[in-house]
């Protein structure tokens, strides 16, 4: 049974102190815009009802945050480990500079999801977006895996300029390659069964979290986008 923290009347710092003070799982009730929930924490299990403020789980270093509503901007900013689950949509720049851990979004993500996501050794961050993604998906991406499933919402599965500046990692979108315009330094091809097998555990986890049907999800074409080079801009300079 989670320890309940009533968020009403608490500011971000006060709420942070209460979360930090309680060793077991906590439930933040009636959240309304308090920022930085779980920021820089590890080993905590936090459930949030109400609307959490920006930078939820920034620098998260382990543990789990579950939000039973939409979340705002900068979820999982510079996250290093742990899991964030959002039963709703997320705002802009979800998973900015994320290096490890997993983010599961039931709904859609705003602009610049996964911007500058990177990986290092055993740290391979994963972000699964059940709905659609805004423009600049995976901008500057240097590592990790982004999955966009297009299960909710309408229109293109991702906005304009996906994967600009991408130089590592991969993006899998539940669509055909020709549905999106990728930049020159990225190769986008129909995903192979092996490509899908590699991300199957994340899809299973997504289905488990949100009660979705894996077979239904897989019964559609997928596109895999990967960069051609880890050094995309080498030719741009001349020593002076």
């Amino acid at each position: 049974m989670a320890y309940k923290i009533m968020a009403q009347g608490l500011d971000a710092a006060g709420l942070g102190r209460q979360i930090q003070a309680h060793p077991g799982p906590v439930e933040v009730v009636g959240c309304l815009g308090q920022r930085f929930i779980g920021a820089g924490m590890h080993g905590k299990k936090i459930r949030v009802t109400g609307i959490p403020g920006n930078a939820l789980g920034a620098y998260l270093n382990g543990g789990e945050i579950e939000v039973c509503a939409n979340a705002q901007d900068a979820v999982g900013d510079t996250m290093n480990a742990g899991t964030i689950v959002i039963h709703g949509d997320v705002g802009d720049t979800v998973g900015y500079a994320m290096r490890g851990g997993e983010i599961y979004v039931e709904g859609s993500a705003g602009y610049r999801a996964g911007v500058h996501m990177k990986e290092y050794q055993d740290k391979v961050p994963v972000m699964v977006i059940g709905g659609r993604a805004g423009s600049f998906l995976g901008e500057y991406q240097a590592g990790g895996v982004i999955l966009v499933l297009g299960l909710t919402g309408s229109g293109p599965i991702a906005g304009n300029f996906p994967c600009t500046g991408m130089h590592g990692g991969k993006v899998l979108l539940r669509c055909r390659p020709e549905e999106l315009l990728f930049p020159g330094q990225v190769t986008a091809l129909p995903a192979s069964p092996q490509d899908l097998d590699a991300v199957r555990p994340y899809l299973e986890e997504f289905c488990r979290r949100f009660g979705k049907d894996l077979a239904f999800i897989l019964n559609a074409p997928f596109t895999l986008a990967v960069p051609d080079s880890r050094n995309p801009y080498r030719q741009m300079y001349v020593a002076n």
Binding site: A39, A55, T78, V115, G143, Y237, V238, A239
Partner: protein, 499 residues
Amino acid sequence: MGQWEVYPEFEVVRSSARCTKCLGCVAQCANGVHQYDGVQLTCDSAKCVDCHRCVAMCPTRALKIVKADCALRENSNWDSQTIKEIFKQAQSGGVLLSSMGTPKPYPVYWDKLLLNASQVTNPSIDPLREPMETRVCLGKKPDKPQRGPDGRFTCELPPQLKLAMPMLFSAMSYGSVSYNAHEALARAAEELGVYYNTGEGGLHEDFYAYSPNTIVQVASGRFGVHEGYLNAGAAIEIKMGQGAKPGIGGHLPGTKVGADISRTRMIPEGSDAISPAPHHDIYSIEDLRQLVYSLKQSTHHKKPVIVKVAAVHNIAAIASGIARSGADIIAIDGFRGGTGAAPTRIRDNVGIPIELALAAVDQRLRDEGIRNQVGIIAGGSIRSSADVAKAIALGADAVYIATAALLALGCHLCRTCQTGMCNWGIATQRPELVARLDPKEGAKRLVNLMTAWNHEIMEMLGGMGINSIEALRGNRLMLRGIGLTAKELEILGVAHAGE
């Protein structure tokens, strides 16, 4: 020479009378200027960057490097540098990339400001015998002191950085400079009671030992940023911009990302380390507040947060916004500041001088009644203790020093850091070059330099009849301009000499 080559800028001159063919120069030059075919020693001057490593290491002083006298026809408008740059771009199609601060002849206002001294009406102070304080506490000061129920002060302050002298080593990432350079800076900072700054490349595991004297930087690439890193630093610096390249991100080429740098930055070996131009979670001033407080929250409000910005046209308003965004300290980097690599055109044409930026910021913060809410660090080509004293009199709490520190470590300002072939072991990741910089000796030289500057600052303070550095801060009556226009004097907030 081919049709599209120009005559080299420098000539390496070897005195055959003095040369003993010890071949030290061949071993020392990573650029391959000196070659030995078993009989004859030859020089390919085209490869020379004028770093003076071979000159310094030649045991018989047989080498010198001179400016080539093979010149293009003189032209004040189309000077030879401009012409050569056009040749390079016509050849390569590339963006010109340069290193260190701009060499262009922009005004250096430090050299147009003069300090005061006491005569008769109040006494000068002898710093060798009388107490003379240069300690600085950098950080937010409360608007009103708080007392407990017993009427005594609670003595609780927002986190402060305590400096034994008003100077810190500014950000240089591991990657842009070498492991040994970082070690020298860390050791010196510890011994001096000041701070060095990791730059945006993370903190090497070996240097956590120096964390009480370390400022950890968070830049747009977030390299090496994690919970342990944030909590390791004495302060956290958010890098919004750099004087040498305002508005431009960073780019460490994959060739420089070896195993050790890969570990420190937490990115794969050989992968480019790209820092986006903006922080993608900061598109507006209120977003800065979000990043500042997310860092504070993650470090339990125990670390001061520095926001570093490049000096740009609207710097006073920007600084005011930063002060209101929860930052404890603002670092302003003037456009003459150094860099490991920056597009030439940006470096030489974007931003404003630190002197004007600092004066404008200090005055604006005072006009708005919030100068006590932030510390100010000024950087971007602080070349001597006189520059330090003048910066403090204009309104800085302390200064950032980088190029001068690199010079102390052996840099000869050849401005080719971007090649990664630094013969002095500073701006390189090649193990055989890095080994040339002894971190202990380097630390000693840094300590020497800073200690000497601190003594000189005390001498200048004593001359002004001031015995504590804080009484010089913003004390613009101690400055006079020389050869400045009325507008320049107005912005600097100083009177002209003779007034």
